[in-house]
């Protein structure tokens, strides 16, 4: 029985759940954590971004069998860091989202960037965010909101 942690809660997945089930669908269908989105299933759009041990990954391409016992997984619902709060309040302040479907992935990626780099450049932002698609093209505000969040973090 695979056992790991999602947002600091211990999760025991029944042995009957197939090991090839992507983590995305474990989160969404088994754990009711629907903030993480399905967009492409091929790690092309970034809507399924979560952290495993703090590192952003595309959960649509992470089979259950590859999740290590005791792994710490963080989803948008469990995002609590200072950086995350700065990102989310900048997202609100600048009204970044339009349709909103991709924004969990955007927020996850932006937060991971700010954890790694306090004052990212435009190139840093492009490099960190290039994998997260937004069909509403909220990119102008994503850039501005990351800078706003960086500023608020000092």
């Amino acid at each position: 029985m695979p056992t790991f942690f999602v947002n600091a809660n211990r999760v025991d997945i029944a042995a009957s759940v197939p090991g090839d089930t992507p983590l995305l669908w474990i989160l969404r269908d088994n754990l009711n954590l629907t903030g993480t989105k399905y967009g492409c299933g091929m790690a092309l759009c970034g809507a399924s971004t979560v952290y495993i041990e703090g590192q952003p990954v595309r959960s649509c391409r992470v089979p259950l069998s590859s999740v290590k016992t005791g792994a710490e997984i963080t989803t948008i619902e469990g995002l609590k860091s200072r950086e995350a709060q700065a990102v989310q309040s900048a997202w609100e302040k600048l009204d970044v989202p339009q349709c909103g479907y991709c924004q969990s992935g955007q927020v996850m990626a932006a937060t991971a960037l700010l954890v790694k780099k306090k004052q990212p450049t435009d190139d840093d932002i492009d490099a960190a965010m290039v994998g997260i698609l937004c069909r509403c093209a909220t990119y102008v505000r994503i850039r501005a909101a990351i800078k706003e969040a960086a500023k608020s973090l000092g």
């Binding site: 299933g41 092309l44 609100e92 909103g100 969990s104 937004c134 509403c136």
Partner: protein, 744 residues
Amino acid sequence: MNPMRMRPRANITPATIDRRVFLKATAAAGAGFTLGIWTGVAAAQASSPAKAAGSAMAGTFEPNAFLTIGRDNSVTVVVKHLEMGQGTYTGLPTLVAEELDAAWSQVRAVGAPADARLYKNLAWGDAQGTGGSTAMRNSFEQYRQAGAAARAMLVSAAAKQWNVPADAIQVKNGVVFHASGKRATFGELAEAAAKEPVPPSVTLKDPKDFVYIGKHVPRIDSKAKSDGTAMFTQDVKLPDMLTAVVAHPPRFDARVKKFDAKAVSSVPGVRYVIEVPNGVAVVATSFWAAKKGRDALTVEWDDTTGIRFSSADIFAEFRKLAARPGKVARNDGDAAKAIDVAAKTLEASFEFPYLAHAAMEPLNCVVRLDGTGCEVWNGEQSQTGDQQAVAQVLGLKPEQVKLNMLFAGGSFGRRANPASDYLVEAASIVKALAGQGKRGIPVKLVWTREDDMRGGYYRPAYLHTLKAGLDAAGNVVAWQHRIVGQSILTGTPFAAMMVKDGVDATSVEGASTLPYAIPNLMVDVHSPDVGVPVLWWRSVGSTHTAFSTETFIDELAAAAGKDPVAFRRALLAKHPKHLAALDLATAKAGWGTPLAPGKAGEKRGRGVAVHESFESVVAQIAEVTVAKDNSFRVDRVVCAVHCGLAVNPDVVRAQMEGGIGFGLSAALHGAITLKDGAVEQSNFHDYPVLRINEMPAVEVHIVASSDPPTGVGEPGVPVIAPAVANALAAATGKRVRSLPLKLA
């Protein structure tokens, strides 16, 4: 309660509250009042709206409940349009809050149920739905009247309680007060206000008194869309719900010949395998089980009726048609004759591929059929048509189909399909289940990204040919524009209104409405029946007509040896909105000043385009840098929009930014192609869309206007491709006439 902030849970409360249930519940709890407002602007302006509204409250005339004031002091606005990113869940409540003098913090939004009598799109006639950038335009008076009437009833209730004249009472920021020091919240007055008669008429605010309209109002949905709690159809979970994934034919119009489900039944979680009109559905306890079940399915297709040609064949046929006159969409003067005698003539042809909408949320819906009717959860963009289509599949009356309108994770037109394709598919599945005695099981239909990409209903492919003549002084004396491509509306309920004498208005809009003063002007169109399912795509006809007209006028300016802005201005004397947008954009962009040079070997250029769509005019100036290897980037876009009164300027800016990104995505990458009748693309690796590293810096400027609001969701889209193509021509001298843009 704000449904948008709800966390999904096992037994969800749908975002849309059934109005009748809601009215009853409200009355029973004494929680507040629901205001019945007459339906529609025309009725509101009739001689006795109060009588109509009064009887509405008595129940003999169905009230149109646009807002509810709760005892908890919440103001809940019932929004009749789909929130798909364009901001209508903020825009329509802004109108109510303005006239009600509510505090913005007390305002909530919920989606309206399906009821065309109450919630029809006033710009569409009798149907309820969202599209054509009409949400604000058709609601501007209606929602303000609703707010003003509620305000009057609150004031009148306070006047009675305080025994003061109503006109001595003021309302500000959600508080009702009187000079004597008496004050009350809306919530405190709600029950008393509900007993007041609806005023016979309301006076709307003088625009100079606006506190929200034209000012900054934050979006209602930003928080829920930044913390993962916003509910989309993909997130709906109902007790006992199953998930369906459908195997679709590899070619449009192909049919199931037979299928072998033996291997499917051994996939854990799979419950049913059902043939539906357009494929075979695998219904399972989870998405992954359904998807694996579909992978295990063997379907033999009968594609004798399916198309077998390729994109190249389609364009070859289009070119043959373009050699012959088509149906005339506009004919001023005698263009053919004027071209014959012109001092100089130019000719060009343009090719536009099919485009997929590719919204981030792949198509999906949840349908439950029980003994009394059917309930649907969907990013619902076309209530009236979808109600009828689902009802027809299930043998119900349209009003037995209850639609819950959830947020859509984008749509760009795809969720408003006259064929109601994915809803009909889901309805067919629950119908088949009911046939097996499994009535009442909710089914979530999920299209994978591949299903979504290959499922058709594309922006049609088009071929345009243009010919123009200049006189010796460089004036445009003649313009001939021929368009070849599938009609979107023929065969749909919109045809009666929008297809006249064989001309589909959506094929020629932007071309037949060319604003330039050209004495001899002819636009004609061929609408061949190709067999590829097509649909409107954000900004519809303008997606192609803006490109051909705005790049060709640029070529004419160059041929006449004139500045492209001055050349356009001279032809736009009778179009003040175009001039205002063009002048604002060029001034802000520094048109006429030199661009900063690029690095060694790079060429830079600036291009302009201006285009009207959905009654708004947008002008854009694009700046590009072309590298030695002919790759290029768009560095900066300056955009000016004339959209009448900008109810929420920041939302207008957001729509222009997003529209530019959406248009640029198609300009740089977008192409759905057919090979041997099958769509070649399947996901974002072979149908790339714009990523952040390709997004230019964007500046948006709004033309100050007190005209009624016009569209903003779409008009930003069509202008960017021609602006970029013109900038590329300025940088390199090369004219690119086919999309997506590639410099040879």
